[in-house]
Each structure stands twice: as C-alpha cells, then as structure tokens.
Amino acid sequence: MGEGRGGDAPAPSPSPRRVLARFLARRRRLRLGLTLSGPLLWLLVAYIGALVALLVTSLFHNENVGVATEMVTDPALDNYRTIIDTPVYRDVAVRTIGAALAVTVIDLVIALPVAFFMAKVASTRSRRQLVIAITMPLWAGYLVKGYAWRGMLNPESGLIREVFGVSPGYGLGGTIIVLAYLWLPYMVIPIYAGLDRLPNSLLEASTDLGGTAGRTFRSVVLPLLVPSIVAGSIFTFSLTLGDFYINRLLGGTTQFIGNNIYSNFGVNLPLAAAYATVPILIMVGYLLAARATGALEEL
C-alpha cells in the first residue's frame, strides 16, 4: 500500500483512513479535541444538562387543568419570589444551613485529633488499619445506618437513652448527630492526608524553639492544614445540605430543604426546581470561598 508514496508519479488515491490520519497528524489540537469530546459530551449533557434543565424548569409555573396541573413554559421569576416571600422556605433554608454548619464543626472537632493520631502517633501498620476502620462505615448502606440510628435514638428504649440516660430523640438534634456520624470519614481522610504530608521536622523545630503543644498546633499545624479542613468541610457541608432521607427518618417534625423539594416535586415541579437552586447557590459561594484558600487542590 505504501509503495505509491513519494516520487513524482501521481499517487494512487489513498484509503479514507489514511487521508484522515494524515489530516489529523498535522493538527494536534483537533486530535485532542476529538479525544475529549466523548467525556465532555457526557459532562455537558448528563451533568451540566441536568442542572440546566433544573434552572430552566424553575422559571416555569404550573396551571390547573381540572384536577391535573399543566406546566406552562412562560419564563418568569415567580417561583423565586414565592420562595423569598414565604417565611417557611426561608426558615427551612436557614435551618438546613445551620445543620450543615453544625455537622461540619462536629466532624472537624472529632476528625482533628483522630487524624493527628493516625498520621503522627500510630505505627505504620496500625495506621493502615485505622484508615480501614475509619472508612469501613462507608461500606454499609446509608439506609441501613439510618434505620440503625432510628433504633438507637428512640426516646423511650433506644441505646443512647439506655447508656446516657437521655436521648435527643427524633428531631433536629438527632438528625445532626446522625449526619455527623455518616459524613465523618469524609472529614478525617483529607485531614489525615494533609497531616501525613506535614514533615515531622516542622513539629520538632517548633518544640526546639520552645513551642508548647498548643502553640505548635495553632502556629504550625493548623495554618498548613487549612486547605485539608476546607476540603473536608466541602463534603460534610454539601452532603448535609443535600440530604433529605435521614431527616425524613429521624427529623421528627422538622424539615430540610430536601424534604421540601421532595414534597413539592410531584405537585409543583417548577417551585421544587426553584428551591433546589438554593443549595446550589450556597455551594457555589462556598466553593468560591474555598478556592480562595487553595483548598480545591486537596480534593
């Protein structure tokens, strides 16, 4: 096949494959573009596309047609106005954000010493075992853990009450405890990774210079750990913000943003879509703030 090349003799018409190969060989960028278009198509259609669909739907509204409702596709901001003007939506959003912050703080307080022990105190062997132990709860189903906590939190007969004498029962407190439990590994692992990278010599230098443990932690460890902490908090914060089933199972009479979306999406999809943009906006703000700290490099 290759004999026809070169010389002055007119080349026999090359195969289309060959033409394409020659065409692409000289165009690096086009080659790269073609390679990437598959994954990007997926990203755009399935990933971003869903978000766009959500945003577009949030501009529509429902009109009654007898017992059924029909979605009218005249874009308007009425749904957002409803959300801003109706106190209950604001209250629920504030409650959800508060819970997300509480979960993040609880996880941070637990994760810091645990991760420090894992990275700096434990032997190499037990370190591996500890990593497995911390991530093990992730192997069990989310619902299994939710139902298990339902039993433990029961205000009359739950394990928590048996052991501590009191139980937060079903409500906001119980929900926060369970969510903090569920998302703890997502906080421990980034902090552990951050501490693992922290050279021991820095800690020794601080001690040599007379720094107490607390001073070393505040002035050496914490500043270097901020990106890891922010990375972990992105998980704990966003997962809490998006959760609805744990609240449904353990929230008693309280509702989260997710519960409101759930109860509305069958009856008033545009309103549900509009409300769903609230956690998205919060997370965009959070991520922008996180980027400023350089924490996104940790993810």
Binding site: R28, R29, L30, L32, G33, L34, L36, S37, L40, L41, L44, V45, G49, V52, A53, L55, V56, T57, F60, N62, N64, V65, G66, V67, A68, T69, E70, M71, V72, T73, T86, V88, D91, V92, Y147, R150, G151, N154, P155, E156, S157, G158, G169, Y170, R248, L249, G252, T253, T254, Q255, N260, S263, N264, F265, G266, V267, N268
Partner: protein
C-alpha cells in the same frame, strides 16, 4: 502558560463538536403532560404474557412472602401466569402519582387522591372491563365512580376500601380514645407521643374533626374547604404540631415507634394495628374508628398508558381481584374487599368491614384530590386546591 492555552483550545474545539452534534436539541425543560382529547382506545384482548410485570402498590398489597412467609400471594401469581412481578411500595399518594408518572410501572393501586390526577396527566390507560374476569362481582357502589371513571371511560378497577383508624397503646392510653380529639387536644397528657400522617391529605383529617366539633364552619366535605374552613383546619394542625413527636410516612418506622412506646397515639391503617398485634409477644396496641367518622381510602388498580407489559398487567388485575386473593388481602390488610364473592369464606370479616353496605360506605370520606371548584357542589365560593394544600402542609410543618 503555553500548555494552558493549548488545553483551552482543545476544550473549545471539543465544545464545537458537541455543539454540532447537539444541533438545536437544547431544550432543557420537559414539557407538561398534555391530556388527550380523543376518545380512549382500550386493549382488545389479553395476549400472551410478557413474562414480567412491574407493580406499584400500597404497602402489603403485593406480598411475596419475603417480609412474612404467611403473607404470600405474589408467588402463586407468578407461577400461574409466568409474569415475574416486581413490586415497589409507596407511602403516600403523592409518591404514587409521581412514581407512576415516570412510566416505569405497569400497574398501580391508586387511591382517589392520585387516580384522577394520573388520568388527567395522561398516565393512565382506559381499561376494557370485559377483559376483567371478576368485574361483575365487584361491589356496584365502587364501580364507575367519580374517582375511577372519566367521560364513561373506566380507568380503575376497584380493589378494596377502608377507613383510617385511631391507633393507641392499650397500656399507656386510658381510657381508650373514642374521638379524634385525642390527637388534637392541646392539653393532651400524651403530648410528645402523638403521631400524624405526613401528607397534605392529612388536612382532611383535621376537617373531619371540625365537621363534628365546629358545625358553624359548615364543612360538608373535608376535601372541599373554602378560605375560612381551610384556615380553621390549618390552625388546628398548627396547634397539633406541638403535640406531635413525628409525622410518619414510613409505616415500618411507625410500627417500631409503637413497639418502643415512643408513640402511643396516632392515625393509622388497620394493617399496621394487625401487624403489631401479631407480634410475638403481641404489642399492646389497638385501633378504633372514632365517633366523628374518618377519612378513608378506596383503591383502584390502574394500568399505565404506556405499560411495557399490558398483558401481564391485566393478568395481575384479574388475579388480585379474584375472590380467593381478595379474601386473603382483605383480611391481611384490614379492609373491605371490592369483590363481594370473596365474602363467602370470610363472612365475619365482610360484616365487620361493611363490605356490602353502600350506606356505610357513603359515610366515610375517601381521599380525593381537592380542586378550586368545590367538590361539595358549592359555586358561590372557591375552594382550596391541592397545590394550596401542599403549600399549607409545608407551613404547618414549618
């Protein structure tokens, strides 16, 4: 810097390709389901089974023995028809309506508060009742009614009906309650251990109580509430919130609450009471139909307009409405069977549940979808529609 520029260029190139591939197909929002105006065409005959059927049902309506080996009527259906049944349970009518709307299910056991919505959204198929073997045996007051028949086309085959009951812990609650007032009394000694049903339709339960206690409001139908009547019901529910430990929609979790004693009083289904009483040892639980009457359900099997397995769907309806299966389901679930032929073997049960008693049937208030046009026939006022109910329920929960 150079590498970054190259990457950007590659990305831009990829976007161009995608843009070309997508063409004008960039409509992000889904359109609303427009209802058909042409006369519905029904299936002519039941052909050979497709080997599978996807069933969307209220809990306990399609048991295959996996929860309790004593509750199994799906296995026999599968053996008889060769249709492998895949069962999905839902907890509220809103859930049923939404799930059925996905088109992933062939049949649904719809209550009146979702059936008409499914018809109007075009999700339900008109049913050829000649293909329904036991249709003639079904109680006449259940057939071709407002909640299962639209413009003379039948969309629902009656399954069974019953009232929502007041369930209580017999050890803790004394004397036994006789009125819904037990769950609405702001001074209740059981405050903090009362449960309510987590669905906007529960507003009707408050309205039923108001019908008896505040006749001045003039509520005729708990699903037809004008501005004032609706406000009174919402006020009652807002007061109730402080008494409530939990709004339930997960019946398994609800049963556990009664077992643990963390809930001692609340609205319930007879099947939940039956299940608790069947515990070993029996949980101290009983249920009454309060003196005010009650909200109730009247369930119908509906077939999806785009059912993947229409033949097996008809087979399922024929099986689940057959006398033997109806007797089993009715006694298990605690409801009146739609098929009166089922009563031959379970006469006591049918007596207790008034299966053949049209007059009794009329006294209960069946779940139905509230509309702006008042369901009780009033034309001088506008009633609150279901969207209002949903919004108000969100506010009650706060």
């Amino acid at each position: 810097m150079h590498r970054k520029g190259q990457r950007l260029a590659a990305t831009a190139m990829a976007l161009v390709f995608i843009g070309a591939a997508c063409g004008s197909d960039d409509d992000g929002g889904g359109g609303g389901g427009a209802s058909d105006t042409t006369a519905p065409v029904t299936q002519g005959a039941i052909g050979e089974g497709e080997g599978a059927v996807s069933i969307l049902a209220w809990p306990y309506y399609a048991e295959d023995g996996s929860q309790d080996p004593n509750y199994d009527w799906v296995t026999a259906f599968e053996e008889d028809t060769g249709c492998e049944a895949e069962v999905k349970y839902f907890g509220t009518s809103d859930e049923a309506y939404t799930l059925f709307g996905t088109g992933d299910y062939d049949v649904v056991s719809a209550s009146g508060d979702s059936s008409l919505r499914s018809v109007a959204s075009g999700d339900a198929a008109a049913i050829n009742t000649e293909l329904v073997t036991h249709y003639d045996d079904l109680a006449p007051f259940l057939k071709e009614q407002a909640w299962n028949t639209v413009d003379d086309a039948v969309y629902g085959v009656p399954h069974g009906w019953g009232a929502n009951v007041l369930q209580y812990n017999t050890d803790e609650v004394s004397p036994a309650p006789t009125s819904w007032g037990a769950v609405f009394d702001p001074d209740s000694p059981y405050a903090g251990k009362i449960a309510a049903y987590d669905s906007p339709i529960y507003i009707a339960d408050a309205a039923v109580y108001l019908m008896a206690t505040q006749p001045d409001l003039g509520i005729e139908n708990p699903y037809a509430l004008d501005e004032d009547q609706f406000a009174a019901a919402i006020d009652l529910l807002t007061v109730q919130k402080d008494l409530v430990s939990e709004y339930w929609s997960d019946y398994v979790a609800y049963e556990d609450n009664f077992r643990a004693g963390s809930t001692v009083l609340g609205t319930s289904w007879q099947i939940i009471t039956n299940t608790l009483q069947a515990d070993e040892p029996p949980s101290p639980v009983d249920a009454v139909l309060p003196e005010e009457g009650s909200t109730a359900w009247s369930d119908n099997w509906m077939i999806h307009a785009d059912a993947a397995n229409p033949n097996c769907a008809y087979e399922w309806i024929n099986y689940i409405t057959s006398p033997e299966v109806q007797a089993t389901v009715a006694t298990t679930f605690g409801e009146a069977p739609a098929n009166l032929a089922a009563c031959e073997g379970i006469a006591d049960h049918c007596e207790a549940y008034h299966a053949d008693d049209a007059e009794y049937y009329d006294q209960l208030h069946y779940w139905t979808t509230p509309t702006k046009e008042c369901l009780d026939g009033r034309t001088d006022v506008e009633c609150k529609d279901y969207a209002d109910w949903v919004a108000a329920w969100t506010e009650v929960k706060g």
